[in-house]
Amino acid sequence: MSDANDTLSPTESELRVRAGAKSRTISVDYLARVEGEGALFVKTRGDVVEDVKLKIFEPPRFFEAFLRGRLASEAPDITARICGICPVAYQMSSSHAIERSLGIAITPTIRALRRLLYCGEWIESHGLHVYMLHAPDFLGYTDVMSLAKAFPDVVRGGLFLKKTGNEILRVLGGREIHPINIRVGGFYKLPTVTELASLREPLLRARDHALATVRWVSGFPFPDVQRDYDFVSLRHPDEYPLNEGMLVSSSGLCIHPSEFEQHFGESHVEHSNALHAFRRSDGAAYLVGPLARYNLCGDKLPTIAQQAARDAKLPVRCLNPFQSIIVRAVELVFACDEALRIISDYRADGPPFVSAAYEACEGAAITCAPRGLLYQRYRLDADGTIAECKIVPPTSQNQRTIEDDLRAVVAANIRLPTAELTARCEQTIRNHDPCISCATHFLRLEIEDDAKRQQDT
């Protein structure tokens, strides 16, 4: 942390005092335990929060630009490189979008295996976030290594859970990070029934660990915060959403994923290399991710996950962002249970992939990344080269909501000492598991406070 007011010249500071203005600045140059790098700026004047900026100055990598001219078949492998933590999400949204463009209909077997693959990514990603990034905040530890000293068995269970998710990715995708067995239309090779059956025993144990995770995290101390979010998620009539569904919101929207851009826009603000998403109807922020899915689709969770939520006293309508850690744990139960169901039904029938001839076309798709919905749209030339594409990752959609959360949290805790307020702000950001690598990445915290400076000098 550094005091940004050092930069104020005495004259400026005198002027502020004369005007009766008192503001506070704290800065954390690099926010820890998030995927990617970023900064935060908070400015208060007296008891008023004047400005909040979640700054993302992760170097831009221009995926949408260099995808132009590449073959559509390369999109799953290239877009995977946007994020090492959720490559499957990029592979799924790009595959579905291109399949929709070309009119490819996948087989029920491929559909089930894609859900299984996604379950693997959810388990790996939620396991990482719950145990390594978020839980240390609630219990006052700096990292999972120190947490493991205090809670060895719990952490071992968490690591096993995460490892099991990675094992699904390895068996079905070839490797955990940037799986190689995924292609437009399906897979290069279907797994054998025996290969998938090998996942059954670890998944049964992982599901028990997931249930234990729900119990463990529901006992954490939660700040009493209720936020009035507009939740946005996919919703499917028969299942908890992963690859398919209508796009719905708590404010009553129900549209086909291909209509996304008509209802949601992106703006480019100076303090972020990630574009800010907003509702076109009124320019307001919205929230995607586990909390949105749970609130909009909780009734589609399997019985075991619904029961775990009830036992943990997680309300059906959960508006406390700090409780997103319980929701992630509930989704861990779902993902383990769903993976077990798919494995027991698996027959390895049909072709590994479905193909179609290239033609000039356009299509879009949304799938559910662990952090929320991931939109991709492709326009292809007749020879299958990508003429144009658009990618809207979950974190850029949540940026403004995270800023709104911070504004609320700082306002409610404005009397807290700087160190505690800073920690609370960082935790507030982690509630939404921002993946700045996806959105681009670089996060930093500054809170301005002239009043504090008066005392210090």
């Binding site: 690099y30 221009f62 490189r81 990292d143 290594m145 490892k163 990070i177 703006s267």
Partner: protein
């Protein structure tokens, strides 16, 4: 190379997807033990406890794409006894090096509404273009077993046992029938650095080169062969050599040998 008894390790991120440093957190069975053997002094993705340098070992992920990062890597080098570049971005500039040679201004305009807010260098470059690098571990992403081997070798003061042969050799070791010979598939296995355990061919897919060129490889010869014997168009072969390690010298050379129009 040999570091102090309990080496102080730092992990740094530059322009990247996070996947290579995630490999360390994906060592679920070894992570806690590793944390006993080394002192993880700066690993921002995993810990909010950050200690200042100097460090015995710095693991560096990502490529250099901004002026700020160009200065930051110099400081990391100054603070580090050993600097290890991990992954395709740190060793070759990564997939984002596809911008090199293109108009960055055009790229920015395609992605961002306000180009004036974006600060970026013309090229994406590997660590070795800016500082001396003590060891390079290839892969997009790296193999976590190899990462643990490099760290172990460092702890034991020996050379890492990381093979430098091609993916092609690993296929023979695994007993995977050659996809080019038996199925006529395009495969970069003969020129690609080993490390993935010849994964793609075992899934019936030709190697697409995510570990980059092996030392003393001859991609031009492979390009001629695939074109003459399998009829693969040059445009497709050029594209294959322009992906995760697009700026690796042997791949750049091969593309020059067969420019558009050949």
């Amino acid at each position: 190379m040999k570091a102090s008894p309990v080496p102080k390790i730092a992990v740094w991120k530059f322009a990247s997807c996070d996947g290579c440093q995630l490999s360390l957190l994906d060592c679920e069975d070894e992570l806690l033990q590793l944390a006993e053997l080394v002192h993880i002094a700066n690993f921002l993705e995993a810990s909010s406890r950050v200690e200042s340098g100097p460090y015995d070992v710095s693991l560096v992920e990502g490529s250099i794409t901004t002026e700020h990062d160009r200065e930051r890597i110099l400081e990391v080098r100054r603070q580090s006894k050993y600097l290890i570049a991990i992954g395709a971005c740190a060793t070759s500039g990564g997939i984002q090096a596809l911008r090199n040679g293109a108009s960055v201004e055009d790229f920015i305009r395609q992605v961002y509404a306000h180009p004036e807010y974006i600060s970026t260098l013309r090229d994406s470059t590997p660590m070795s273009a800016h500082v001396s690098v003590d060891y390079e571990l290839y892969g997009c992403p790296i193999n976590k077993t190899q990462l643990l081997e490099v760290i172990s070798a460092l702890l034991q003061g020996r050379k890492p046992r990381v093979f430098s042969h091609s993916v092609c050799v690993d296929c023979k070791l695994r007993g995977t029938p050659c996809l080019t010979v038996t199925r006529g598939l395009t495969c970069l296995g003969p020129v690609t650095h080993a490390g993935c355990e010849a994964l793609c061919p075992s899934y019936g897919r030709g190697c697409f080169g995510c570990y980059g060129p092996k030392e003393s490889s001859n991609p031009s010869s492979l390009v001629s062969h695939l074109h003459e014997h399998l009829g693969v168009p040059f445009v497709e072969l050029r594209r294959l050599l322009s992906s995760f390690t697009t700026q690796a010298a042997p791949f750049v050379e091969a593309r020059k040998r067969f420019p558009p129009g050949t």
